[in-house]
Amino acid sequence: MKKKFAGYINLKNLNGVLYPSSMQNIMMKDYVQNVLKGTFYLSPTEVLQAKYPITLRTLLGKETKIDGIVMLSSFYLPKEYNIREQIYSESIKTKKKLYFILDEMIFKNKLDKAKIEEFLFFKNNFFTETRTKLNKNEETFMKKFKKISFV
């Protein structure tokens, strides 16, 4: 019997890009059917206004009969480390793997945690914000290099 996977839609920016729910749904369905060769169950959307990831926790709960959860990226995991820790533990406890399509990563057990956490370092604003100009300090700093420019 084919395994059943749920999609997890999150409407927060993913490194500055907002993926509409319909697009996320198409990507996850394709991943479940063609990569995991499973059955696509459904894809609820995370509650945008909630303090905690209640939809993700509902999918991980024992009441939801699925084998794993697919999402676009690990960047959709909760921002706070201790809440993420709860998600990892729940995932191990309920034996529901977490699949991150764009990152090409899977959370199966404790060993995968470090890899994902390392990846999440790049969720920092420093890497994700769109830079349109230099700040004052950077401008001062760059004055000495003004001759080194191709544009």
Partner: protein, 285 residues
């Protein structure tokens, strides 16, 4: 004499209209939803178009009891299997959302009431959705939710059209604005229970909407709603589509794609809106 108005008659008619208007608005403000008797000829037309599409898709010839439309929709699970349901649903979905004829018909069934609740310059959801909930189907469930959780506008209403009589688990569940305030807080701010657990714990505070074919339900999707396994012996067919005042905000609290052109389309634009927007276009700073 025809060109002279009978002012007394007009005032009387206006007074009656004002009383009705207030009742619809007050009911909606109090309960967050209204079950309204709509124009049945339009609803029969909607149902016939869908029935025709379904029969063509599954190559089914109407005969015996199935000639009766109520019987056909209520017993659809006797014609196809659960596995086929999503493909069939998509065929109808594409048919309904091709062109604007069907959506116009949809709008017309609710227009008098939307005028009361929203106004008459509207935006309409681009896609009308179809739900088919067969008896004991565990795969077509929609947990308790509020549409604003997925970034939809709090200014919108849902026009929900059952194509069959709905009752008990064949319908959707709903709660009162008072209970909603408390449960909404639990969903948004607590980290103890998940959505399913909150629903099961508070199950008694929800009820299933009762509506007959010929009635439509207009509700605010800010109020928690959803469905459970349909344990009746009949299949539910229902349509849903969202409407909002054209000039009310689309993205509220967060930037989402629930806006024009992604999720909504302008349904009608009144002259002063065109004139005003053109003024802004010319003199914007």
């Amino acid at each position: 004499m025809d060109k002279y108005f009978n002012i007394k008659k007009i005032r009387k008619r206006e007074k009656i209209f004002m009383i009705e208007q207030t009742k619809i608005q007050k009911d909606f403000e109090k309960n967050g939803y209204s079950v309204i008797r709509a124009d049945k000829t339009k609803l029969i037309r909607i149902r016939s178009i869908i029935q025709k599409t379904l029969c063509k898709r599954i190559n089914f010839k109407l005969r015996d009891k199935f000639l009766d439309q109520d019987y056909f929709f209520n017993n659809f699970h006797k014609i196809i299997s659960k596995k086929q349901i999503n493909e069939v649903r998509f065929t109808v979905y594409h048919m309904m959302n091709k062109g604007e004829k069907f959506s116009q018909l949809y709008y017309e069934t609710a227009k008098p009431y939307l005028d009361e609740i929203l106004g008459n310059e509207l935006a309409m959801q681009k896609k009308i959705n179809l739900s088919i909930q067969m008896p004991n189907d565990k795969d077509s469930l929609l947990d308790m939710h509020s549409d604003i959780y997925a970034g939809e506008s709090p200014f919108q209403v849902v026009v929900w059209i059952p194509l069959v009589n709905v009752y008990k688990t064949k319908a959707m569940f709903f709660t009162s604005p008072k209970v909603n305030k408390n449960l909404n807080d639990q969903v948004l701010n607590k980290n103890k229970l998940n959505i399913k657990q909150i629903y099961y714990k508070n199950k008694k505070k929800f009820w299933f909407i009762n509506a007959e074919f010929g009635e439509i339900v207009i509700f605010s999707p800010l109020i928690l709603h959803g469905n459970t396994v349909n344990i009746t012996k009949e299949t539910r067919f229902s349509l849903n589509c969202r409407f909002k005042s054209l000039m009310s905000p689309y993205d509220v609290t967060v930037k989402s794609h629930r806006n024009i052109p992604n999720f909504y389309r302008p349904l009608n634009i009144k002259p002063m809106t065109k004139i005003g927007l053109n003024y802004l276009k010319k003199y914007s700073i």
